[in-house]
Symmetry: C2
Subunit: 214 residues, 2 copies
């Protein structure tokens, strides 16, 4: 599969691009917001494309051309205002869903957030972010795409363990970003994740084995 990584310059996106480059099964196209971000990726051998999540659906669809799957791993980040939460995390994500439909790409993986589907479990501190993620996930659920919505717990920068716990509902927990990237990679062709949404945190099962329990 050739995979468009949206948000390739983000913390999960970068690690996913590396994993895709190492993989013998997949090719990668890194979608980047700024031309100056491309050099690092091209030096590693990744194809790149410049497109903005604040641009049109057509712009994103054109960036996705030739790909077989789209991974939405972008996030406006904690340092920007809530206007970007609305424009990027919500509308940018939904535009990417629409772009995949427009480009005829059926497989779509969304990086969401633990319990984004249960309003009563949204922490006060980042509730606006949860609102954005929730409605982006809803749009994907209602699309025609073969989706997987991956909802990781608190994101850590420590090294990955390759071991996770997945379920439709997990109370709480954290997970290294590297293990989120591995979960995305292993989900791409894993039929047990097709048209499914799940929470994921660190656990004791190897990623591939854990996904088979879904």
């Amino acid at each position: 599969m050739k995979v468009l990584v949206v948000g390739a310059n983000g913390q999960i996106g970068k690690q996913l691009v590396e994993l895709l480059l190492e993989s013998s099964e997949h090719d990668v196209k890194a979608m980047l917001r700024k031309p100056e971000q491309a050099k690092d990726f091209e030096e590693k051998g990744a194809e790149t494309v410049i497109a903005s999540l604040e641009g049109s659906v057509e712009e994103i669809a054109s960036a996705a051309k030739g790909c077989d799957a789209v991974v939405f791993a972008a996030g406006s980040g904690g340092h920007t205002g809530q206007d970007k939460t609305l424009l990027v995390d919500l509308d940018g994500a939904v535009k990417t869903v629409e772009a995949a439909e427009q480009a005829g790409i059926d497989r779509f993986i969304m990086v969401s957030a633990l319990q984004a589907h249960n309003r009563e479990n949204w922490s006060d501190a980042i509730k606006p972010y949860y609102v954005a993620k929730h409605y982006a996930d809803q749009a994907l659920l209602q699309s025609s795409l073969n989706y997987t919505i991956i909802r990781p717990g608190g994101l850590l920068n420590e090294a990955g363990t390759g071991k996770v716990k997945v379920a439709e509902n997990l109370d709480r927990g954290s997970i290294p970003r590297n293990d989120v990237a591995r979960t995305i990679l292993s989900s791409l062709n894993e039929e047990k994740t097709f048209r499914k949404s799940f929470d994921v945190v660190s656990g004791d099962k190897p990623v591939e084995e854990a996904l088979k329990t879904l």
Copy 2:
């Protein structure tokens, strides 16, 4: 009909409550965020209920008890941050939709914004607000409710004329808040507005006549 006005203390909400009080066909229940807002309404003869759009669906459903219709006329307003745009204009609106479903109230009127259904027509200045309104409208469209989505142009404080122009798509235009309130009032029982969404601006047709053209 007994009508729950959500956002009764807002600029459109207040005028709608007045119109409902004058009407012989309807009763009104004003939903307010703060207890100190109730006195003014009660002096005019309006029933009031205190509930927060940042509270639970159950809290809003309980406020709606005994009503036959819900009007969402709330807005976080330009003076608050975009976190409130996410929490009130988007999630608060969708919680109100869910509350109506939970309370078994079928009729729902949403006050949206001109062209909220067409992303390419969102003005840069208030684009985050449009994102919130758009996805709230989407949730209502996908609900089981008998909805009317009213999308007014630029809101004016001048006196109403009682004359409007309505259509599925209007380029641009403005409208006194009083005329928006009249459009809501006349839509309540007008079957031509059932399960419809439309733009509305000032025009040359009396409100009731204009709605019959939908």
